[in-house]
């Protein structure tokens, strides 16, 4: 038999003791296998006392003093039931039907085999073999254990210092939103978006540059074989690699001092992409050859209206 935790066993025993009207210690002993099992039909609990009391008590009852009963805070068993419960083990050891035989006179006497239609309410301690006469489909109930009701979701929220979203966060967000709108309005009033001549398939501008966020890649293309710079680097490192970051970096700490390597690598990435982009934007002239913006001018049409470099 597997080891049942003491706490569970105790709780189960208390419940069973309450249901049967027996002392907890006895049930506990039975459950541990230290004492023989008492066969008590549950009906005895519900039986109206007047009808049950007249039944002849077993001769052993007077010999058992009430003292050995441990204090049961849940329910003090009624005397009639105690009589049944405190039957000496020797008498109980016998099969249940035999034990019940002496009391056929009592109309409400426990009678498992009679099939009196109240079997559904029966709490039998050992119902492994259904007694004869039980209708098909009617089963004995057995109390296995009592499980305390718990919430489906266990909420374990640590107390944190919180403030109301309104107004504390909303005002900050709204201010940022207004500032961004103002900034964009001013920017759009001052700076005209570039519009060159109409598209012409026969006139390739020199140099031809990608949008600025791809210029770092284009810059790398001028150093490496396209198979490496145009494909492997951006897709593997750029996409898959970036998505994999949380699964590669197993360090649970978020403190900067604990993650020097991660911060260093990311900073190298940032600095590298910024350098490549700036090189591509400002330092590349005709033929995508190296050029000094202060000598040859800026070859970047997105910036055409920003500053007049007068280069080209």
């Amino acid at each position: 038999m597997p080891e049942i935790p003491e706490e569970l066993l105790r709780r189960s025993a208390e419940a069973k003791a309450k249901a049967l009207g027996l002392p907890v210690e006895q049930i506990l002993a039975e459950m541990r296998g230290e004492a023989p099992v008492t066969e008590v039909p549950a009906e005895s609990v519900d039986v109206p006392r007047p009808t049950f009391v007249p039944s002849p008590p077993p001769p052993s009852v007077p010999e058992i003093p009430p003292e050995p009963q441990p204090p049961d805070p849940a329910s003090a068993p009624p005397p009639a039931i105690t009589a049944v419960a405190e039957t000496p083990p020797a008498a109980v050891k016998e099969p249940a039907p035999a034990a019940e035989e002496p009391a056929p006179a009592a109309p409400e006497a426990p009678d498992n085999g009679a099939g009196n239609g109240r079997l559904a309410a029966t709490v039998s301690v050992r119902p492994s073999v259904p007694p004869a006469g039980v209708p098909e489909g009617v089963r004995h109930q057995r109390l296995l254990t009592v499980v305390k009701a718990r919430a489906i979701q266990q909420v374990k929220a640590d107390p944190t210092d919180k403030v109301n979203t309104w107004p504390h966060l909303m005002i900050a967000e709204f201010t940022a939103l207004l500032a961004m709108t103002a900034f964009l309005l001013v920017l759009s009033t001052i700076l005209q978006a570039p519009l060159l001549e109409a598209a012409n398939f026969n006139a390739t501008p020199n140099p031809s540059k990608a949008p600025w966020y791809f210029l770092g890649l284009q810059e790398m293309l001028s150093y490496f074989d396209p198979q490496i710079a145009g494909v492997t680097v951006p897709t593997v490192i750029g996409i898959v690699g970036f998505m994999m970051i949380p699964y590669i970096d197993r360090n649970p700490s978020t403190r900067p001092s604990d993650r020097k390597l991660a911060i260093m690598l990311f900073t190298i990435f940032l600095a590298g992409s910024a350098t490549l982009t700036i090189l591509g934007v400002l330092f590349r002239g005709p033929g995508f050859n190296f050029a000094y913006p202060w000598v040859d001018g800026v070859f970047f049409d997105d910036l055409k209206d920003w500053v007049d470099f007068g280069g080209h």
């Binding site: 979203t165 107004p167 961004m180 519009l195 949008p211 791809f214 284009q218 897709t235 970051i245 978020t254």
Partner: protein, 262 residues
């Protein structure tokens, strides 16, 4: 009111009724039904903790924000509002983009002329186009900076790993949205920047040629590419990005709100 017969009496009655109805609508039932309990725009709003909670709880913003947030997350220096600003730029770009759609036809004959007209003829056309263009560049920047901020805070660590993945997808979609929009003015800058950009996609080892063909709708940029990228730009990619945005925002809350202080 004295009872008068004829048309004047009827008119007076109608006016009284109308005034009553309008008054009722704005002071009573209509505003009551429009504003949920606790709204600061509602009559009788007082600054109490209960009402502060109601403002969020009974508001569509409850989809985005919980009633309470960690105090350190409210500090501007923690997030620099970069995620919020990226989303706001997305909204601005949607608004200005819809304006531009009224005056733009994605055909090789019309596209360039339309953009020219937007820059010169149409009221607020220039402003809208400029805001759309600079806003798009700005959004690429804010999304990228947002990602950097999240990295430096280690905010991608459990339980927020998957939201980082969603974020990388959002960055990719932002780049794609910007890149597809780049072609639409149909000028030399657009044509050749896109040619260079898609040539880079053509370098993909096994499927490169196919990817490039699918992107361009041909072996090189054509009028068909313009229509294709227009549809991607105004319909397909915004649709996809909104789905991912919804997941992203939802996960921010489900993963325990903003990441803890360092």
């Amino acid at each position: 009111m004295s009872t008068r017969n004829g048309i004047h009496g009827l008119l007076a009655k109608a006016r009284t009724h109308a005034t009553d109805m309008v008054g009722r609508m704005w002071s009573g039932q209509f505003m009551d039904s429009m504003l949920r309990p606790g709204s600061p725009f509602k009559k009788g709003y007082t600054d109490t903790p209960r009402n502060r909670s109601y403002v969020i709880m009974n508001n569509v913003l409850y989809h985005l924000h919980p009633v309470k947030v960690k105090r350190h997350g409210v500090k501007l220096s923690y997030t620099l509002c970069l995620g919020g600003l990226s989303f706001f730029l997305f909204i601005l770009l949607t608004v200005t983009g819809i304006f531009l759609m009224f005056y733009y036809a994605p055909t090789a004959e019309r596209a360039y002329i339309d953009v020219q007209a937007l820059s010169t003829d149409i009221a607020f056309g220039s402003l809208m186009r400029n805001m759309h263009r600079w806003g798009a560049h700005l959004m690429v920047l804010t999304v990228f900076l947002h990602m950097s901020r999240v990295f430096y805070h280690g905010a991608y660590k459990p339980p927020r790993e998957f939201n980082w993945v969603v974020g990388v997808i959002l960055l990719l979609l932002t780049l794609l949205l910007s890149f597809t929009g780049y072609l639409l003015p149909w000028d030399q800058l657009a044509l050749w920047a896109v040619t260079v950009g898609t040539n880079m996609a053509g370098f993909v080892p096994v499927i490169g040629a196919q990817v490039k063909f699918a992107l361009l709708g041909g072996v090189e940029v054509t009028a068909g590419t313009l229509l294709r990228w227009y549809v991607l730009h105004v319909l397909f990619l915004p649709f996809i990005i909104v789905i991912f945005l919804a997941v992203h925002f939802w996960r921010v809350r489900k993963d325990g709100g903003i990441s803890g202080p360092l």
